[in-house]
Every structure is written in structure tokens, then in C-alpha cells.
């Protein structure tokens, strides 16, 4: 596969790993005093485990898994609201596969499907719109989920629906933006991070400038990285070299996809359809100001929150999550998944307590599935 295979070349990977080892030694980092790099994006977490990169890099380098999995940061009550919409008899509820198994307070979308809700998995919001075209007597709702990578796709889908006057399509908007939680993490005095591996696909939309505050205000480096193993390793090396050279800058390893200024058409579509919410709740992180998007008044007809009276605009009272487990600490990198008392015992991919165990990008599921840290279950 072009642009994929050449970035998975094992020979080049070995060279990169040798250079990483050498640079970690140069820094003098050790297992007990490691260089701590946060990969923000869940796709990076997934790739690190899928290719076993955590086992190939030296012990003086530690990956901290960040809050960049939109499924994992979704609060339980938003899942409950999905279920509420999905259970309505007139609704065809469409979603990306990722969100199907995420537990709400009472049930997941998969559970509601087994109870008779018409929940369908789609690959693209355009496919949900097509379902609306084909089923004019049903209400088709799409579960809009994701960071800036995915936001343009739902914005353009709403614009398409509006231009065709498709009235039975709406979006349950849970889009979030990547920089507000980063600021939150950086302002946390307990967070000890030496740099960030920046989310490549978010950046192809927003460009590299929105990260500048990280270097300017907090003196931390960030390298926007691609998703193939060589991309990740090269980005790690770039971060380490900044450290050696005493720099803290925003660099772009993924220039083949990410233009510095982002994608103007995508940004325009987002701007046209969405506006920031005053506040949005993140699982494990709580409410974060201006971190979520909602549909503008002009497109209210396509807003499932308004259409079905759920969520932030709803007349019903808003109950925040009560978390009995350590998802928040894991999400912010303060706790390794296997340290959580529920990990692999009360909380497994089969019976997840937290969303980090559901999504294959969640740090807990990644550790459970790929890394050799699972507690032995007595036989």
C-alpha cells in the first residue's frame, strides 16, 4: 500500500530505535527517571501497542496515554441520551462501530439494539444521510462523535442535507476540540510531561498553529506525528532531539498530510455549522470550557438535541457522572491502566466498567489486549 508500507519498514525502524536509544542515553534518562512523552491521540496509543513500540523503545522513555479517544472521553450520560433517542420507535439511530459497546449508566447502544431499537452501524455520516433519503417516513439520527478530524465530515453532511431539504435527518452532536484538555493537563501541577506527540489527523484540519501556546506558555515541545510506526518513532526522536538541544518548539513530522495552515475548506464548514458550547463534560476530566461544539441556530432543524429534547439544551435536569473507578487518573496519564484495582478483574473488554476498556484505542483495552500485564485469573 503506497504511503503505508514504506512507513512500516523494519530496517528503518531499527535505525530509528538505535538513534532513540542513543539520544535517551545522551539525556541521561533511566527507567526510574524517564523522559515522559504523551501521545494525545488514541490512534497513536493503538499503533504503539499494535506494533509493540512500547517494548522496543528503551526503558528511559515512557509513553503517557492522553485523552484523545473521543469514545473514551464521552460521559456516560451522553450514552444514556443516545439510548433514549434510539429507543424511540420512529428513529433509525446510526453510529460508527466504536460507540456501540460503550456502557451508559444503564445500557449501551448494543444493549438497546437487542431490546428492539433500530441501531445501525455506518462507515460514514454520508451513509446515514442516504438512509434518511431511503426512509422518508423514519427519523434518521447520526451519532456525531470525534475531534476536529471528524467534525468537517458531519458539518458537510448537514450542509448537504440542508441543500437537499432532507428533513428527517439530524445529528446528535458530541464533537470536541483537542486543545482545551491539553491546556488543562499543562496547568495541572501534578502532570510531569516532557513533550507531546501531536495528533496527525486533527492537525490536517486545524494545522499546527493552535498548538503554539504549548511551547510559548508552557515551554513544552510538540511534534505532529503520522500514524505508521516509522512516523511515531521519528516523532519521538524529533522530540528527544529538541530536549537535547534545549528547544521547545512545534514541529511537523507529518508534513505529507498536514499543511501548516490546516485545511481551509474543512475549517470553513466547521465554522458555518458549529459554534463552541460554553462548556462540555469530558469523562474523567469533568466540564471543560469551550471544549465542545454545538449546532448553530441556523441549522437547528438538524440538531437531535433540539429535536428530541435531550442533552445540554434539554428541559430535563443534568446529572453529572459519578465515577467509582480510576478512569480519570488513567486518562490524564497519572495512573497506568494495570494499577487500577478493577483492571482485568471487574473491568474487562467483555464487561467494561469504563470506556477506556471498550474502545480498542482506550489505554486500558490496549494494555489488556496487547501488553503482557494482565492479571492471572485463578483457574
Amino acid at each position: 500500500m503506497k504511503y503505508v508500507t514504506e512507513f512500516r519498514d523494519p530496517v528503518a525502524a531499527r535505525q530509528l530505535l538505535a538513534a532513540i536509544s542513543h539520544t535517551v542515553d545522551q539525556i541521561g534518562a533511566t527507567k526510574d527517571n524517564p523522559v515522559r512523552l504523551m501521545e494525545i491521540c488514541g490512534g497513536h496509543t493503538h499503533a504503539i501497542f499494535r506494533y509493540g513500540l512500547d517494548r522496543l523503545t528503551p526503558p528511559g522513555l515512557e509513553f503517557i496515554h492522553g485523552p484523545g479517544c473521543p469514545v473514551c472521553v464521552l460521559p456516560m450520560r451522553r450514552v444514556d441520551e443516545c439510548v433514549e433517542i434510539a429507543m424511540r420507535p420512529e428513529v433509525i439511530f446510526t453510529t460508527f462501530g466504536d460507540a456501540m459497546r460503550v456502557p451508559g449508566r444503564r445500557k449501551s447502544l448494543l444493549d438497546s439494539k437487542s431490546e428492539g431499537a433500530d441501531v445501525r452501524m455506518v462507515y460514514s455520516p454520508l451513509d446515514a444521510l442516504e438512509l434518511a433519503r431511503c426512509n422518508p417516513d423514519r427519523e434518521v439520527v447520526f451519532f456525531g462523535l470525534g475531534f476536529e478530524t471528524t467534525t468537517p465530515s458531519t458539518a458537510l453532511t448537514i450542509l448537504q442535507a440542508a441543500s437537499e431539504g432532507i428533513g428527517n435527518f439530524s445529528l446528535f452532536c458530541n464533537h470536541i476540540t483537542v486543545t482545551p484538555p491539553l491546556r488543562l493537563l499543562l496547568e495541572d501541577p501534578e502532570m510531569k510531561l516532557d513533550g507531546f506527540i501531536g495528533p496527525g489527523h486533527v492537525s490536517m484540519v486545524i494545522g499546527t498553529r493552535p498548538y503554539e501556546f504549548i511551547a510559548r506558555e508552557f515551554g513544552k515541545p510538540l511534534v505532529v506525528a503520522g500514524f505508521e510506526p516509522l512516523d511515531l518513532l521519528q516523532s519521538v526522536l524529533m522530540l528527544l532531539r529538541q530536549r537535547v538541544e534545549g528547544r521547545a518548539e512545534i514541529e511537523n513530522q507529518y508534513a505529507r498530510i498536514v499543511p501548516e495552515e490546516g485545511n481551509p475548506a474543512s475549517l470553513a464548514a466547521i465554522e458555518q455549522v458549529y459554534e463552541p458550547r460554553p462548556t462540555f463534560e469530558w469523562r474523567g476530566l469533568g466540564e471543560i470550557d469551550k471544549s465542545g461544539l454545538r449546532i448553530r441556530e441556523a441549522y437547528a432543524a438538524y440538531d437531535a438535541e433540539r429535536k428530541f429534547d435531550v442533552g445540554y439544551g434539554s428541559s430535563k435536569p443534568h446529572v453529572p457522572d459519578t465515577e467509582s473507578f480510576a478512569c480519570g487518573a488513567v486518562m490524564t496519564g497519572r495512573m497506568k491502566p494495570f494499577v487500577c484495582p478493577e483492571f482485568g478483574k471487574g473491568c474487562t473488554p467483555e464487561h467494561p466498567l469504563g470506556a477506556l476498556m471498550v474502545s480498542s484505542e482506550g489505554a486500558c483495552a490496549a494494555y489488556y489486549q496487547y501488553a503482557d500485564v494482565r492479571p492471572e485469573v485463578a483457574e
Binding site: Y3, V4, F7, A12, Q15, L156, P199, H201, V205, A255
Partner: protein, 105 residues
């Protein structure tokens, strides 16, 4: 977050709705190309590679930048060849210090 995969645009299927067919390792799918048509005619897209995410071409792949990244990776071969020599020499010097012998020249 954000699974994306390179695909090659092979055909414009609906110019009004800005839809095109992409080929991803032999698998084809119609995607929306609205995000990559700024200052460009739709026909110019044919043959170009784009990053595909949830049925949308999100960014055109810059072949020159891809080549530069790969070049940097391959230059590393030489650098890390040197690094290996340095590391080995250092290791030998340490061994030498422990055993009281000088490094082998």
C-alpha cells in the same frame, strides 16, 4: 482518534455533490472530496492520493513532503551507522577501563 488511510482518487462520480471514487488497496468506495477541491477543478483530482476518513477525502498527500520524510529516514541509516560505531567504541572503552586494556584500534 481518527482512523485515516491513503487512497487514490480514480474517478469523479458526482460533480454536483462533489463525490469521487477512491481506490484503497484494490477496495473502492465513493467519498466526498469537498475538502480538497479549493482552487482546484474536480478533474485535477484524478490520480491524486488523499487521506480518507469516514467517507471524506480530508487532505491531499504532498508527494514531495512524503519523499522528504522518507529521505530523512534513510539518511538516518548513515547517521545511525555512525552512532553504532560510536556506541560500540564507547562500550569497548568502558570494557577496556574495567580490564585495564586500551580500546582495540
Amino acid at each position: 482518534m481518527c482512523l485515516g488511510i491513503p487512497g487514490q482518487i480514480v474517478e469523479i462520480t458526482d460533480s454536483e455533490r462533489k463525490l469521487a471514487t477512491v481506490d484503497i488497496s484494490g477496495v473502492r468506495r465513493v467519498v466526498n472530496v469537498a475538502c480538497v477541491t479549493t482552487n482546484r477543478s474536480l478533474d485535477d483530482l484524478i490520480g491524486r492520493w488523499a487521506l480518507i476518513h469516514v467517507g471524506f477525502a480530508m487532505s491531499l498527500i504532498d508527494e514531495a513532503e512524503a519523499a522528504l520524510t522518507l529521505k530523512a529516514l534513510h539518511e538516518l541509516d548513515e547517521v545511525s551507522g555512525e552512532l553504532e560505531t560510536i556506541t560500540r567504541t564507547e562500550a569497548m572503552m568502558r570494557t577496556g577501563a574495567e580490564t585495564g586494556q586500551g580500546p582495540v584500534q
